[in-house]
Each structure stands twice: as structure tokens, then as C-alpha cells.
């Protein structure tokens, strides 16, 4: 995304530059239109390399496409290729293979047959970053056609924010009373005070109180009330 944004900036900034730079490139490699002048035909040569894979395993399914399907070439058994009969112009040369990914290269052929290869840049079309010629196209690995399935694991489950939100308060509820000695009268006083601080309006019914009332009614016949549940605890001990 950052890249997109940067491209955008570059795009806007270079709008003006385009016209200028175009003149240069127009004169130098000659645009595709140069093909109309019935001139010589040239040959685009190069080699494709897939590291770690034998050529015979992939060349039978690969093709070299020059500017779409305008010119088609095939790979030799050693991985080299030559696309014959190409008039002068500027072309995007691409090796297509269903298994391996190759980056396209732009090849410029002058009307005299001078060749150069450069990186494909569709935004700054006149930018020249030289590539070796005869082409050396190295595969950047197999295609990644497939999305990864979301696998289910315990760690994923535990690290889920929803689960964390539920588990942590639970731990606090369960553990805190055990850590803090509630029998200590000073402590209790302190807690009550803090509770009062939290509850600024004593008139307002406490939600937790209301809830405990509601639930304790059904399950136990004990006197109920918020004090009730709290008073049970010491009794039990």
C-alpha cells in the first residue's frame, strides 16, 4: 500500500516529466510503430533459469511471449531461447510457465538491430534500468496460487482477543479473593471505600447487586442479598 501511495506521488510528480522523457526514448529505441517500416527482422535471445530444477521438467510447458502473443518462442532443451522474426520496436518479453514465476523484461530493438534490455516499468515507461542482454531470466520461485487455510490451534484460540477478554477477568474474579485476605477488617474497609468511590451515586441501584439478587433467588434458598453471598464464604471456612 505504501508503495501504491508512493507510486501515486511519483506519478503525479512525473506527469510533467513524461512529455520530456518521452522525446528521448522516442528517438532512441524507436516505438513499436517502427515495425511498420518494412525493415529487417531481428532475434531476441536469452536464457531462462529455474534454480534447482532440471530443464526437462519444466520447458515443455513454458513459452516465451513477446508483447502478449504477438511473437511466440519456445525453450531449447538447455533453457536458452530465441524469438525469431521480430521487427524493431520495444517489447515486453515474458516467460510463461504454469509452475514457475518469471519477471517480464522490456527489450528495445533499434531499427539498426541494436538491442537492450531493461526492467519493465509501466508507470515510468521511459525509465531505463538496464538488464543483461542476451536476457538472463531467473525464476523467482514457484507460483503461489493458493491461499493458506486458517488452521486451528490452541495458541490461536488463546491469543484471540475475545478469549483473552473473557479469561482474564475470570482469573481476577477467581484468584483475587484468594490473594487478598478479605477477613482482615482494615482491608475490608479499604475495599468498601474504593467501592464507594467507584459508585459515586449511592441512590443508583448497583448493577452487580441486581444481578446477584436475580440469580441467587433461583438457585439457593438462603436469605439472598449481596451480603448473603459474602457472608456464606466465611461460614464455609
Amino acid at each position: 500500500m505504501q508503495q501504491m501511495k508512493r507510486l501515486l506521488v511519483v506519478y503525479v510528480a512525473l506527469q510533467a516529466l513524461f512529455a520530456l522523457s518521452w522525446c528521448f526514448s522516442d528517438a532512441e529505441p524507436g516505438p513499436a510503430a517502427g515495425s511498420q517500416s518494412n525493415g529487417d527482422r531481428f532475434k531476441i535471445e536469452g536464457r531462462a533459469i529455474v534454480p534447482g530444477v532440471k530443464t526437462q521438467d519444466w520447458i515443455s510447458t513454458a513459452r516465451i511471449l513477446v508483447e502478449g502473443e504477438e511473437y511466440v518462442g519456445f525453450l531449447k532443451t538447455d533453457g536458452s531461447f530465441a524469438v525469431n522474426d521480430v521487427p524493431s520496436g520495444s517489447y515486453v518479453v515474458e516467460i510463461v510457465s504454469p509452475s514457475f514465476r518469471f519477471d517480464p523484461v522490456r527489450v528495445d530493438i533499434t531499427s539498426k538491430g541494436k538491442m537492450r534490455a531493461r526492467l519493465v516499468n509501466y508507470i515510468k515507461t521511459s525509465e531505463v534500468i538496464r538488464q543483461p542482454y542476451p536476457l538472463q531470466i531467473r525464476s523467482s520461485g514457484p507460483h503461489t496460487y493458493f491461499m493458506k487455510r486458517e488452521t486451528w490451534g490452541w495458541t490461536d484460540f488463546l491469543m484471540n482477543p475475545m478469549v483473552m477478554m473473557m479469561v482474564l477477568p475470570l482469573l481476577i474474579i477467581v484468584l483475587l479473593p484468594k490473594v487478598v485476605n478479605t477477613n482482615d477488617p482494615e482491608m475490608r474497609k479499604e475495599m468498601e471505600q474504593s467501592m464507594n468511590m467507584l459508585n459515586p451515586n449511592p441512590e443508583l441501584p448497583d448493577v452487580s447487586e441486581f444481578m446477584t439478587k436475580l440469580f441467587s433467588k433461583g438457585s439457593s434458598k438462603s436469605s439472598g442479598g449481596n451480603k448473603g453471598s459474602r457472608s456464606v464464604a466465611p461460614k464455609r471456612r
Binding site: K5, W22, R41, R63, F74
Partner: protein
Amino acid sequence: MAWLVVRLAISMSLLYAASAVFEDQVGKFDWRQQFIGKVRFALFDTHSQASKKLLVATEQNVFASLNSRTGDLFWRHVDKTGPEGHIDALLMYGQDAVVVVGNGRLLRSWETTVGGLKWETVLDTGSFQAAALVGVQDLVKYAAVLKKSAISLHDLSSGSEIWVENLPDSDSVQYQTIYSGGNGLVFVLGVVPNSHIVIVEYKIEDGEIMNKKSVEAAWMSSLESSCAVVSSGILLCVDQITQSLYTLPLQSAEQTEMRQIHLQTLDLEVVSGFRPVLTSTQPNPAQPPLSEFFLQLSPDHHILLQFKDGLIAPLRDFNPSYLAAFATSGERTVAAVMSPKNDTACSINLFSADTGRRHLDTTIIYHMDPNGGKPNRLYVHAFLKKDDSVGYRVMVQTEDLTLTFLQQPGRVVWMREEALADVVTMEMVDLPFTGTQAELEGEFGKKAAIQDGLLPMVLKRLSSQFILLQAWLAHLWKLFYDARKPRSSVKNEVTIDILSRDEFNLQKMMLMVTASGKLFGIDSKSGTILWKQYLENIQPNSVFKLIVQRTTAHFPHPPQCTLLIKNKDTGLGSLYVFNPIFGKKSQISVPALPRPVLQTLLLPVIDQDYAKVLLLIDDQYKVTAFPSTKNVLQQLQDTASSIFFYLVDSSQGKLSGFRLRKDLSTELIWEVVIPTEVQKIVAVKGKRANEHVHSQGRVMGDRSVLYKYLNPNLLAVITESTDAHPERSFVGIILIDGVTGRIVHEAVQRKARGPVHFVHSENWVVYVYWNSKFRRNEFSVLELFEGAELYNTTVFSSLDRPHPPQVLQQSYIFPAPINTLEATLTEKGITSRHLLVGLPSGNILSLPKLFLDPRRPEVVSEQSREENLIPYAPEMPIREEWFINYNQTVSRIRGIYTAPSGLESTCLVVAYGLDIYQSRVFPSKQFDVLKDDYDYILISSVLFGLFFATMISKRLAEVKLLNRAWR
């Protein structure tokens, strides 16, 4: 701020990477079939006995190696379309195959086991005539290529040119064939029509002309097919006018004229009007051909003859016989002859070439497909059996491009339907309900509910439930029964009888019309061909239009499809009506079409049998209705005033709109002329009739609604400039209302040229063109909006539209070339749309329409974020995860067909070109079904766990209460 935008965009792009394929979905609902096309040359690898290779070169410029035991492809190389990739000749020696491509432009040698190129050389220009392998002293070392004015010799191991020589008098002499008998000489044979034959001898080593002679032959017009070289360099020609054979030794100096042998002396006669064909065989290019040859005297009469000591003797007469071919295995050459057996079958027999004696027990019965064409090519693979007798297999090609590979005694080893390599148009038709399903549906019929009372309804309900139960039990029984059988014998054979609509209507019938005139009905789930029908007498330049007139929804009326076949040159058409499920031709009478058809129109009007009415407009603007019953004509009269249609005449640059009158004549309403000197109309597209738009507008960031301009009559017209200069060329798009002829919008893309691919749907048009200034493909999107208010909320009328729509446009760079473009389509149009882009690499890219939204902001604002608009970026992303067909690439993808399924989330996709690929796409993920990887185990274990936890805690609570009570 900026990082927020970035984060948003990342999360969004993650969200929209929806239509990706998971690895475990491979082959689950998709399939691909690969084809090669009409076979031009086929050679069996006879190099070794165990070889399974069958090399084929086809009219589709495909060179492939097939496994002759299964019919599968070992490898396939798809060259450029058109004459530049045309394969002129295929020669084979050892492991290598030499191919001449592009009218003699390239000579290639292929390593056939790997499928890689060995070498490739460029030949001089000049139209290709012939090619042959040249051997010296029993070794094949060279390939000679004959052009119109030159001959060249190439080394087979490196491809280097040994020599190239100009042919003498090449402007008057037509050099046509080449011959070498392994004696160090190459003969080039030419003819001056109706005058004489020229024979030039070249020395292999240096290309020196050893001898040149011309022989009188006033009767001869062409060497091809009527001449052959037999025995040790004897030129043999046949002429049907003089009813004679002519012989001439190529090398002898004394004989200066051809010796005539009347066919009458052999008791033979050529059928008048038939050009006799001579077929000889040269098993080893380093040795002279055999002295036996076939002479075809009529389409079904062959005769095996022998040339011996200047005399011709018949060995065996095959009358009747359709096809004959030679084959060699080791030192033995045999001839296979196909003769008719009865009306539906042919028998192929093997004869020894040198004696004409029939080999015993070598009959292969070939059953002809009653819906197919006649066999027209026979390829024989002969091999030596263990007992040293000759065995053979044959491949038969028929007129309808079926390749059948047979072995004794007539077992079909494999079959390929190569007509499918050239699909012209297709449709998808819902499968019919089964009897039980139809019964259930019938219960809810309108009539039944009114007529019957309450009790019969209840009874009916019960009975249908009983039927369902019965069907379910039968299904269970079948499952049980199949489970007991070994797995191999339970083959999931799909037949028409068991086909029925599935729960979500995901399985459909694909109707494919091919250029050769063969129709196919294919099951979309498995790719099985359920029926095929070859339409004979289809001109090669015909155009087809397939129309579904009645779907399967009108039980008991059978579904009905109509195919309009139109001759491109004359414009004369004919209709072929058939049932799309069974492929049977309907008995319905079809209107005769004496005049060229300009336009067809499928109306929503239906006749009493629920068939939609098809209107055919001829060149005098007269309308023919089909079906044209009284009922239909009455309806047409009632609705005539609201039936409009348009015609396009691209040669005159004219678009015109017409209205139907009550008497089925027409009146011109509007006309738009696009001057042909400046630009030409390339394509005109309306919207798809079965498209649904769910939402009328778009909710903006400020909670107001921007209403879409949903004009069903809108036509998108694409024009291209006639000036092809990159500085002055342009692509234009015009949006015209098809009823009123009003131009709604017009846009011009300067410095652009075609080919333009475009999609017109909903309220948008997306088109792709080539930017000739920056040399890249660009996408442009046009969206039309009515504004914040709808003019008429209930109905859209083209005649009452005072306000022009607001048009928004944006363009993007697309970093790849494009072959074809289509948009996904779903049942109700709720699912977001994707564009399916067919790339030359064979991949199909599913591009979210969200990226093609003219409202994408350059500067991100609060509101645009609220609307989920992606910030504008000039370059369109291409991700490999968006390739819906992963490595199942479709070569030369020509069209993509999309059809809605019963599930709103799912769109069925068929891509066709040289291959056919069928799949499903889920543009907004599968929101209406459980995911494939839905964790049933987890959910059930959690449920059970909770259940037991409650039980246990209940018990514990009881115990506790009890304890407390005791205290």
C-alpha cells in the same frame, strides 16, 4: 494519518483477496480439458517398439505428443495463431521431429521425449512448397526445404544450412515436390501447367546442378496428389481426362517423354469428376520408395498396384473402400484399408503391401457414430508381434474432428473430440427435475391448490412425502450395494438418465457450438460429453448464435434451444431447433429464411407452450417470428408499439433503431452515423438479459444515496480510429439509448488503439485498450449515476428521461496483455462483482470490481473511508492468488462464459479457447454455505463438552446443597 490509511488499505486488500483457491479445493469443482484441434499431420514413433508417442501437428498451429495408449497429452506446444504459426510439414527421424513453420519461415527440430526445442533456424522468405528428409548411404542426415524459388539443405543435428540454391526459371516453372532416393541426389520437380515437367537434379554435397531436363506433359496442371515417385525413382502420374497413367524414370537420360499406360488396359476407370490420387510410400528416406502404390479412382474405390520392370500390375482391388494407408514396421510394409461393412460400421483390414495378400485375423471393426461425420483420415501404427507377425492399431479422424484410436478387434482405446478446440459460442442450461422432484413441485401448482379441497391436499402431501422416503431408501440401498463392490468397478458414469438438478443448481448442462458445426452437451460437474450432434453441410465461415427459447422450468414441455447458423458471406441463415438436455432435434417446423438475417431478438413474450418468441429481422427490415402461432402473433400485435431493436452496419458506420409495427413491418426511428473515414465501429454490446441488480444506489459517506443509472436499453459502442499512427490513433466509446437513439455519453481515449475488450453491466462499462504512447494496457471504467434522487422510482422509461446521467470515469494501468474480459454473474446480484480477465499466459484473473471504481479518491478523506473506497493507485495489482485456475492454464483463451447458480454466492465460469476450463467463483466468499473447512469436530466437541459440564455441575450443585442442608 498516513499510517492509518495504509493500515486500512492493507486490511481492505486482505478482505478483497476473496476469490482465491485453497489448495485442497483443487479439482473439487473445476476441471480442464486440453485439445489440439484438427490434425494435419500425425506420425507414430516407430523408432522403438515400446514407444507410446504419437506426434501430431494440427491446423490450430499446435504441435503435440500424445500418449497412444491413453490419448493424453505428453506435451503440447501452442504456436502463434494465423499463417505465421502454421505448420507446413512434419518430418520425423529417430527421437527428433523436424517441423516447418510459417509458410517456410522457420525450421525447428524438437526433442520429442522431453518436448524441448533442439534448434531453430530462420529460412529465407518465399512460399513453402515441400520438405523432405534426405539420406545418404542409409543415414538420414539432412532435411531439404523447397520454396517457390529456392531449395535449401539443412543439417539435422544442428540445423545449419548446408547450401541454398536458386531454382532455374522459377518465375515460369512451379516447383512443387522434392524427392531423394538415398543415392546422393535430390530431385526437384516442377511443372509448367499444360506444357511440360521440369526435373532438376542437385548434388547433396554442394548443391551443384547435375542435370536438368524438361519433359513434355501437355495434360498436366499440377504435380501434387496426382503424381508420386515409386520404385527406384520412377515418376508416376495419373490423369483423369486421358484416363491414363504416365511413367518416367527420373534419372535416365535417354527417355525424354512420359510413357502412357491406358487405364483401360488394366481394366480400370476413373469416375468422371473425381481427381484420382496416387499414394506411394517411402519407409526409409535414405532408400527408394516401394514399388507398390495406391490409386484412388473414386471416393470409395482404391486399388493397390505394383510397378515392375516398366509394367504396372494390379495386386488387389478394393471396391468399395473409403480409406487406405501404408504403414511400416521394421522391414515389413503393410497396407490398411477401410471398407464399409454395413450402414453403421466399417471394417479395417491389413494387407501385405508387396503381395496384396490379406493378413488373417486382422480385422478391426469401426463403428461410426450415427450423430457424427464420415471418416476421412486413417493413420496406421504397425508393430511386430512376438511371433513376428504384424499387429496394428489405427487412428481414424472423421469429418467432425473426432479422433478414435482402435485396436483389434475393434476396441476403442481412446477418443478425442477435437472439435472442442474451436468453441464458438456456448450456453448453460439448468438440468431438469427428476420425476420425484417434479411431483413435489407439482404439488405447489396454482391450479391444484384451488381445485382440491383440504383433505386431498393433505393426502397429496403425505403421498409425496412417502415418495421422498422411498427415493431416500433406494438411495441408501444403492450406497450400501456399491460399497460392497470393489472400488474399481464402481465407476461414476454420468448418463443423461440419472442427471437431475442438484440442491443448489450448481450442476448444469453446457451447450457448446464449435466452428466445425458439431454441437456438444457437456455435464458441467464432470466434463463428460453427454451428447454430440454433427450438423452436416456447415460452411466453414458460418457464424452461430445460440438461443435458449424454453428452459427446463416448464415441465412437461421439453426445454428448447435454437441455433441460428448464418453464412458470413451471403448472410443467409437457417435454424436448428433441438432439446438441450438430450441433444435431439425437435420436430417443430422451422420458418424458412429466404433473405439474409440481420438481427435476432429474443422477446420476453411467451407462447402457450412457454417458449420465448424469437424475432428474426431480414435485410428488408421484415420480421419473422418463431414460433409464429396465432397466439404469438396476437401478443405481438398487442405489444408491438413497445418492441424496439437496433441494427449495426459497421461498413457504413451506421447505427439505426427500429420499432415494430402491428403488421410485423418496421419503422425507422433513429439513426446515428459514425463517419467511416475517421473511425469504424468495432463492437456493440447491450447488457445481459439475465442480469439482476440488487441495489439501486450506493450509500455515500454522508449517508446520502447516489442512485445508479440503470438503463436496460443502453448500448455501448466501441469505435477505433482508421488512422493507425500511434500519435493520432484513438479509441472511442459511445453510450447510446437503444430505444430513442439518444447519445448518453461519449468518451475518447487518445493515443490508444485496440484490440478493445469490454464489459457492459449494471451502470458501468469497463474497457481495455492499448495505450500506444506509453505502450501498456489500460483499463478504463465508466459509471453512470442518476444523482441523489431517482427520477422515476417505479419504472425506467427511455422515452421519459429529462436529466442526463452523471458520468464518472477513471483509468488504470494493467500490467499485462489481455485476451478476453467478462464479469461474474450471480442469481440476485447481491454478491459483489468481479471481472474475469483471460490472460495470454492462460491464467484467468479474478479482479474485484472495487479496484475499478471511478470514485476511488486520490486523497483519502473520512467519507471515502466510510464508503470503503480504496485510494487511487495508477497501477492495477495482479496477484497470483487471484488466478482462479491456478496451474490449469487455458491456452489461447477466447471467451469466458459466466452463469449464475442457485447459490447467491456462487458464479459458474467456463473459459474456452484451445482448452476448456470449468470452475466456480465466489466473489464475496461463500457467505451462504458453510465453509469447506468448517470444523465440525470442534463445534460438536464443544457442544458435547458444554452439555456434560452442565450435567456434572448440576450434580455437584445438588450434592453441595444436600451437604449444606445437613449442616
